[in-house]
Amino acid sequence: MLAVQGITKTVATQAGELIILRDISLDVAAGESLAITGASGSGKSTLLGILAGLDVPTSGQVLLNKHALTSLDEEGRARVRADNVGFIFQSFQLLPGLTALENVMLPLELRGNKKAKSLALDFLAQVGLEKRINHYPQQLSGGEQQRVAIARAFASQPKILFADEPTGNLDTATGARIIDLLFELNAEQGATLVLITHEERLARRCQTRIVLSAGAILAAQDNS
């Protein structure tokens, strides 16, 4: 599903060229899960951005569901994301002006899906928020907001799901429930899961785990 070959990311700064990622290669098969861990500033978010096609590497190749992201322009990558990718963010990233239902419907509407509403209702029910569909994000707790975000991510039935610190803004108990939900739905959908986390429990539940340090893979671990 995801094949990464020798990607490097550098940025120019006043002090000279800064290497953020160096020679990263990895493969994630369809339906597998990968945890990316590492200290702050180790390049996790940059790697996730490149893997998801939100950013491009300075060199190297990324194949996402057989699409060579590095040879596509932004519009081409947007099409690949629309057809293949779902996201879950640390800060939930729900649109404040939209209700829970509308937030879940948004990516479906962007794809012109005519069953947007019924699908969204279905997934909101699966995350246990069928009674809060008309609530706005600010009327929901952190855990509830993240459940809406999960429903939104799965509603568009992505082939690969990227999650950026999905429990980072939640307390331990709520975080645990969100992790369970995430893996339950992922098992049902059969999607590939790539996530960034600081949390040991979450990293352990993924089949593969890599540890980044100073932009390079320090260690790779097979949990399966």
Binding site: G49, L54, A78, R81, F87, L95, E102, E109, L110, G112
Partner: protein, 833 residues
């Protein structure tokens, strides 16, 4: 595709509307279109009404006056062009009734008369109540006449009595209350009689004043016809149209129209600035949303369709609401005018609606759209890395586009290059000065911030921190205040100027055709009645025969209509109050060069158009005699004034050999009117012109325009406040974080509110100062190039503007920022996050 192009933007629009993000943008758009449509519909209706009124004064769309009967070939051509025609003949004659006689102005008309307007008649003498007056749908039948109240009273007769006009006796059927008579000076000289032209030949009175009245449904066709016949008219024939008949009124209306145009575009400019600020804020708040949608796979085209689609839909709805509101506003003024002055405004054409809608579209395209332009280029990675910079549209680019929009709107609405350029130059000057002053302020605040304490330190530090915003705020505040000041000053001076033209005790009667004996009696009568003695001018009628010993060429004749008609000239040592010598000397300091020519003082405009200078020779024809003169001085004349004015004033006694008549304009109060009638009766050859009705009409029109001007000023004020509010609100987001932190760290409300007051008061004070500089510059350009009026500084505003600016902006600052200070810091911090 339909989903993403129409339905999704519509849904997002509804969602954005429901969470209040679009309110300022919508209000600004609605206001812009409401102002444009309100003013242009009103102006259009006013113009149409005045055209109708003026045409009814003229009795036609155009009138050819002639001293000989109109050539049959011209009449045939007019008929072939489907132009309506009517013929009238006017003359002065003594009318007899029993033992009484009175000089009267007589008009013989055909059955089609008048082509525009109507004859109003009554069976009561001096009838004023509308219930006593009715419109005559016909003209006097053969053998009958209608006479006005003054003639009726002077001849002491009753309806049904006979009057003799020349050799024919006619029956008085009705009292004539009003008639269209704009082009015949004689017909205005009270004591009027209208008769059927079928009876004219039997009077055996020789005719030399023919009127050929013309009207057409298609104004363009008539204008073209007149242009084609003009070269064929001889020197005894001339064409009167609305402008020539209503010169002074037209000048006032042109000024008022200029004001309305400037004011409306200023109001739109202010609304436009508010639109731009609101759109910028809206787009900044949506950067994360766009990044999220892009991460979810939305293409740049999607984003463009979604946001531009929202803006387009909002623009169309706001423009429609604005049109309705604009219509309602002008209708309100029209109803008020109808209620107060019983004048029903003519309906508007579709043109102003289309024009205003176009104005709304220009506002959306040039003020709002540029602010949203960068949204599709937001990188999707911003969803993961918030600190990523966004390429916001450059402010200067928005300013350039806004100026382009203003140029377009000004050009579109005024169709006047001078106004457009004056306003643009004024705006550029303010932008430049405001930019420089605010940059200086920031530099100074940087230097002094360390040495200040408490409230002031916080205020200056705030300004430093929000450098860009502070700079922009000063520019916007200055611009808004400048436009408000300009409008207030122009409006105040216009109204004062108009009122000065028509003082309540200004002359309302003209007494003319007095011989020397009448003049002596007139002066004695003034003494007896206690009426203030006006200047009495000796008057003769002349034609310009030669200029510097050469007959005026065709080319010269085209430059000024003075060659086409007989002119009333005077000789006096009294320089009229509203005349100013701009070259040469008035008679008390002038010395005749001994050329055996009389000195003549001429109108500056005439001198300029014809190219005359001091010492040039002019020969006039006076009833077959020649009056030779040389230019002794050039006078600037205020033709807008209702006082008597002359194109040519000769040195005293120069007209003595030409049997002058005497004339004077006087104010006669209602209780002196019987005495005036008695005096006129005792001097039957006297010509009495009552132009009280004309003054009342002008006052009505001025009141109409003043109402419109007042409305526009309020709308401009509304737009100005919107801009100020938008500008203050634009810094709220960045203040939230700071306010939350300071409060969390224990800063008192007093300290924080104090710093807000100091910061905004200082910005407001400076903006007020810059605004008055800009307003004076703008007014200077307008006075110099557009209104041609005297340049005057407005000292009181130099003090008031900075103080009011400081007060206003500080108050707005408190209103907008108060919530940051009184809301618990945790809430403020959470909102900021």
């Amino acid at each position: 595709m339909l989903q993403s192009t129409l339905i999704l933007p519509l849904k997002l629009l509804a969602r954005n509307w429901s969470c209040g993000e679009l309110k300022l943008l919508t209000i600004s758009l609605v206001l812009a279109v409401a102002v444009l449509s309100g003013i242009s519909i009103f102006a259009n209706r006013l113009e149409a009404t005045l055209l109708l009124q003026s045409n009814s004064i003229l009795g036609a769309d155009a009138v050819v006056t002639s001293s000989v009967p109109i050539d049959q070939s011209l009449i045939d051509r007019a008929a072939a062009d489907n132009i309506q025609q009517s013929f009238a003949s006017t003359f002065l004659s003594v009318v007899y009734a029993g033992d009484e006689m009175q000089l009267a102005s007589i008009k013989a008309v055909d059955s089609l008369y008048p082509l525009r307007g109507q004859l109003d008649i009554s069976d009561l003498v001096y009838a004023e109540k509308s219930s006593d007056i009715r419109a005559a749908n016909t003209i006097p039948a053969a053998g009958e006449v209608w006479v006005d109240s003054r003639l009726f009273a002077a001849l002491e007769m009753a309806l049904g009595d006979k009057v003799a006009v020349g050799d024919v006796e006619l029956t008085v059927k009705h009292i004539l209350i009003d008639e269209p008579d704009g082009v015949n000076p004689m017909s205005s000289f009270g004591a009027r009689l209208v008769m059927n032209s079928g009876d004219l030949s039997r009077t055996n009175i020789p005719q030399e004043n023919y009127q050929w009245l013309l009207a057409a449904e298609n104004a363009q066709a008539l204008a073209e016809f007149i242009e084609t016949i003009k070269p064929e008219l001889n020197q005894h024939q001339s064409v009167a149209t609305l402008e020539s008949a209503q010169g002074q009124l037209a000048a006032n209306l042109k000024t008022a129209n200029h004001f309305l145009v400037i004011a409306s575009v200023m109001a739109v400019l202010l609304a436009g600035v508010a639109i731009a600020i609101a759109a910028r804020q809206f787009s900044l708040r949506h950067t994360n949303q766009v990044a999220l949608m892009k991460s979810l796979g939305a293409s740049a085209l999607h984003i463009r369709l979604m946001y531009f689609g929202q803006l387009l839909m909002l623009g169309v709805v706001a423009a429609l609401i604005g049109l309705v509101l604009g219509y309602a506003l002008q209708e309100l003024v029209a109803l008020n005018i109808n209620h107060l002055y019983r004048i029903e405004l003519a309906p508007s054409s579709a043109h102003p609606y289309l024009l205003s809608f176009t104005g709304g579209v220009i506002c959306v395209l040039f003020f709002a759209l540029p602010a949203l332009w960068f949204l599709p280029a937001i990188p999707p990675l911003k969803i993961l890395r918030r600190e990523l910079p966004v390429n916001l549209p450059q402010v200067w680019l928005q300013v350039v586009l806004a100026l382009l929009a203003i140029l377009m709107l000004m050009g579109l609405f005024s169709l006047d290059l001078k106004i457009t350029l004056s306003a643009t130059l004024g705006l550029l000057a303010v932008l430049l000065v405001a930019g420089m002053v605010s940059w200086l302020l920031l530099q100074i605040s940087k230097l002094v911030v360390g040495s200040l304490g408490g409230v002031c330190r916080l205020a200056f530090a705030g300004m430093q921190k929000r450098k860009g915003q502070s700079l922009l705020q000063v520019v916007i505040f200055s611009l808004a205040l400048m436009l408000l000041l300009t409008m207030t000053i122009i409006r105040t001076s216009f109204i004062a100027d108009w009122q000065k033209q028509i003082p309540s005790d200004g002359p309302n009667y003209f007494i003319g055709n007095m011989n020397a004996a009448d003049n002596t009696a007139f002066k004695q009568w003034l003494q007896e009645t206690g009426i203030a003695a006006p200047p009495v001018y000796p008057v003769v009628r002349v034609r310009i025969a030669q200029i510097n010993d050469v007959a005026p060429s065709e080319e010269l004749r085209k430059r000024h209509n003075a060659f086409e008609r007989e002119l009333y000239v005077t000789g006096t040592d009294m320089l009229p109050d509203d005349n100013k010598i701009v070259a040469g000397q008035w008679w008390d300091a002038w010395e005749n060069s001994g050329l055996d020519r009389a000195g003549v003082s001429i109108d500056a405009e005439f001198a300029k158009v014809i190219g005359l200078k001091l010492g040039d020779k002019l020969d006039f024809s006076v009833g077959g005699l020649t009056l030779s003169a040389q230019v002794a001085s050039i006078r600037q004349i205020d033709w807008k004034s209702l006082d008597q004015n002359f194109l040519f004033i000769f040195e005293p006694n120069a007209l003595d050999h030409f049997s002058p008549n005497y004339g004077a304009a006087i104010f006669v109060s209602p209780n002196h009117k019987p005495a005036l009638n008695q005096f006129a009766r005792n001097h039957p050859n006297l010509l009495l012109l009552d132009f009280g009705g004309m003054i009342a009409n002008i006052q009505k029109i001025i009141n109409q325009v003043s109402n419109g001007v007042g409305l526009v000023l309020w709308l401009t004020l509304g737009a100005g406040c919107l801009v100020l509010f938008a500008a203050v609100m634009s810094s709220i987001d960045s203040r939230k974080q700071e306010a939350g932190l300071l409060r969390a760290l224990g800063s008192s409300r007093r300290l924080m509110l104090g710093s807000v007051i100091v910061e905004f008061a200082l910005l407001g004070f400076l903006s007020g100062l810059i605004a008055i500089v800009g307003a004076e510059a703008f007014l200077l350009a307008l006075q110099q190039f557009v209104f041609n009026s005297e340049l005057q500084p407005h000292l009181a505003y130099w003090i008031a503007a900075p103080l009011l600016g400081g007060l206003l902006i500080a108050t707005l600052g408190i209103v907008c920022c108060r919530s940051l200070v009184v809301t618990p810091p945790a809430v403020v911090l959470r909102e900021a996050a």
